[in-house]
């Protein structure tokens, strides 16, 4: 510690020099994507990567946007709200993106919408379900994906009533998504007159024996499990070991974890008769674009799509490109105006954002959701009845 003077000056100059060198302007229209590439839900990042690749090819093969190529910059949020907020900001200040799409963690999205609102950047949320994301009615925030209240009231509660369950158990992870959807489910179950109990669990927990023993004592007919990621695999496997299921039907209230490549390895035979929520089925296609997506996906990656989040991000990028085209410029307020008038065929239906302010339906488009059951390792749609390919087995 001889002479900090030299070091301080050295430090000042090096940092100034390094900071002064910046990325050069490219002749593209940049759209930012936020999502977890690392952390517990890094699988979503992989699904996003696939969807992004297909979307870029799809749009640029058709001539790009505003005579320029579309470029996507993917910023990792690791599923953490703080990284999400700073990543979002980085996309805007460093990469100068015109719009941001993506996100699959409600907690991260709730941090990002604050930044979007403050920096006035249009943001289309793809797969973060918490109601407040759109219920805050921020002018720059849209959601082309499910909301908790939509999933609960349109799909899960109706299914519970349809199947005639009388006793239910709600298991929620302690995140914005888990706690939010559990509360909405409670309200819906009270309205239905279904007896229920509820417990909260830690997202990263690997051992659910204690919780399951408590659940077994209540002897529910259905367990509504709002646990994302590996936690769900452990839960399903251990519920099987303790003979809690198949006496009680387990519903994975998110979906993708039941379709992850290692699901069957992790749960073994106990995965049979598990049910999950999804906006995609391996055989049912809702629009012509969905069939095209499947062909493109199989050609590009040599396998069939499983995680429906690759389609969600594909749709979100399409919406963004469509809005830029219609706005004719990249000015934020024009883009918001264009987004409000979106009417676009996506892979999950015709996308059109809600316009009634006040609730979570504002700037929100709710894709149709299915409830699917694993029956001898085949996906069988059991709800809604008009799309059903089979019936609930217990």
């Amino acid at each position: 510690m001889k002479n900090p003077k030299v070091k301080l000056l050295f430090l000042l100059f090096t940092s100034a020099v390094i900071l002064a060198v910046g990325p050069a302007w490219a002749n593209t229209v940049k759209v930012g994507v936020v999502g977890p590439r690392t952390g517990g839900a890094a699988a979503t990042g992989q699904a996003f990567d696939e969807g992004i690749k297909l979307a870029i090819n799809y749009i640029n093969n058709k001539g790009g946007v505003l005579g320029k190529k579309l470029e996507v910059v993917f910023e990792d949020t690791a599923g953490a709200p703080d990284k999400a907020a700073s990543g979002f900001e980085r996309l805007v200040t460093r990469d100068k993106v015109v719009m941001v799409v993506g996100e699959s963690h409600s907690s991260a999205a709730l941090a990002e919408i604050e930044v979007a609102n403050r920096m006035k950047v249009p943001f289309i949320v793809a797969e973060a379900w918490a109601d407040p994301i759109t219920a805050k009615n921020y002018e720059y925030v849209f959601r082309a994906g499910p909301s908790n209240s939509g999933v609960v009231n349109e799909t899960i509660a109706k299914w519970v009533a349809h199947a005639g369950f009388k006793k239910a158990y709600i298991v929620a992870e302690n995140s914005d998504w888990g706690l939010g959807i559990a509360e909405l489910t409670e309200k819906a179950l009270i309205a239905l007159g279904v007896k229920y109990e509820k417990l909260t669990t830690e997202r990263k927990s690997q051992d659910h024996y204690t919780e399951l023993t408590k659940i077994k004592e209540f002897a529910p007919e259905v367990i509504l499990a709002y646990v994302y990621g590996d936690g769900l695999h452990f839960f399903v496997a251990q519920a099987g070991e303790l003979k809690v299921s198949p006496r009680a039907v387990i519903l994975d209230g998110a979906g993708p974890p039941s379709l992850w490549p290692d699901f069957w390895k992790n749960v073994g035979e106990y995965g049979n008769l598990e049910t999950f929520v999804s906006s995609m089925h391996e055989k049912v296609e809702l629009t012509p674009l969905a069939a095209e997506f499947r062909t493109m996906y199989e050609k590009e990656f040599g396998k069939s799509p499983t995680d429906y989040k690759s389609r969600s991000i594909f749709d979100a990028i399409l919406i963004a490109a469509d809005a830029v085209k219609r706005a004719g410029c990249t000015d934020a307020d024009s883009l918001v105006k264009a987004l409000k008038k979106t009417e676009l065929e996506g892979t999950r239906g015709i996308i059109k954002f809600g316009t009634t302010p006040g609730g979570p339906e504002y700037h929100q488009w709710m894709p149709p959701m299915l409830i699917i059951q694993w029956q001898d390792r085949n996906q069988v749609v059991i709800y809604p009845p008009k799309a059903a390919t089979g019936t609930l087995k217990r």
């Binding site: 690392t38 992989q46 927990s205 204690t210 023993t213 695999h233 303790l242 490549p261 073994g268």
Partner: protein, 285 residues
């Protein structure tokens, strides 16, 4: 509720003890806390998955290979990274702490974020005393863990190698004077410590699949057990592991599942405040 919690506590206690034995061995002989202990545990889980699942080898062969490879990896790490840190707590802590983060992120790059589960040895569940169901794989892990702990005790207490280890951990200079090559012994013991983490890893991975970061709680728990039992004491590890397993599971069952892992750390702080040498520790550093 109670029988289930006791059973869980017993199973987890044995696994904790096994994981902690490796930490304890390295502390006792080398005076080094290996922060990356949990990452060796995870590595064994990945190897065992790779051999048994991807290559389709026999599970027992896969597990032995996995433990062997982690042992070799441990020796390489000792030789390249740990060796210059002897006698310097701070340096070894810093190095192994950085190492643990490097390994976690390397696993993410190599094995991806999904949990990896080696095939189970047995299927199904057993109804115990007609009272509650318990996964057979967990019972198998309990048996395997017990056998391994007994084997380690025999190795240390009954063999020539064990005598050298005990001599070196009691008085290093004396052992050197008596012709023990302590550098070689260090390398070998560090490898052995890693192999014990690996053994715990292959036993538990079919129950709790491994992810890049799931080694962290294992290492933290092992540290708690080592302090609770007394640094360097083998019996301390076994008793400490069982106490911790029981306390955590009883606490989870009757107090709060969310605070399950808090109990262990509270024990740690209390032990350090009241009797820093632990239950069976003879010396204080």
């Amino acid at each position: 509720m109670l029988p289930m919690a006791l059973m869980n506590g017993l199973v987890m206690g044995v696994i904790y003890a096994l994981a902690a034995l490796g930490v304890s061995l390295v502390v006792g002989i080398m005076n080094v806390i290996n922060f990356a202990h949990g990452e060796f545990y995870i590595l064994a889980g990945y190897f065992s998955y790779l051999f048994a699942d991807t290559l389709g080898l026999n599970p027992i062969l896969s597990m032995s290979l996995a433990v062997g490879m982690v042992f070799l990896f441990g020796i390489v790490i000792e030789y390249t990274i740990i060796r210059p840190t002897y006698g310097n707590h701070m340096y070894s802590l810093i190095l192994t702490f950085i190492l643990s983060i490097v390994l976690q992120n390397a696993y993410l790059l190599i094995f991806g974020p999904y949990p990896k589960k080696p095939p189970g040895w047995v299927k199904g569940a057993t109804n115990i005393f007609g009272d509650f169901c318990y996964g057979n794989q967990r019972l198998a892990a309990l048996a395997a863990g017990t056998v391994l702990i007994v084997a380690v005790f025999l190795l240390i207490k009954k063999t020539w190698f064990g005598r050298m280890i005990r001599a070196a951990s009691q008085d290093r200079e004396m052992a050197e004077l008596n012709g023990v090559n302590t550098a070689l012994l260090n390398t070998f013991s560090f490898g052995l410590g890693c192999a014990l983490a690996a053994a715990a890893g292959v036993v538990l991975a079919p129950v709790f699949p491994v992810t890049p970061t799931s080694g962290v709680p294992v290492a933290l728990t092992a540290f708690v057990v080592v302090v609770l039992g007394g640094m360097g004491s083998m019996w301390g590890c076994v008793i400490g592991g069982l106490i911790l397993g029981l306390v955590e599971n009883l606490g989870a069952a009757f107090i709060s599942t969310g605070y399950k892992h808090l109990f262990g750390f509270i024990i740690l702080i209390v032990v350090l405040a009241v009797k820093p040498s632990g239950l069976f520790g003879s010396r204080e550093t």
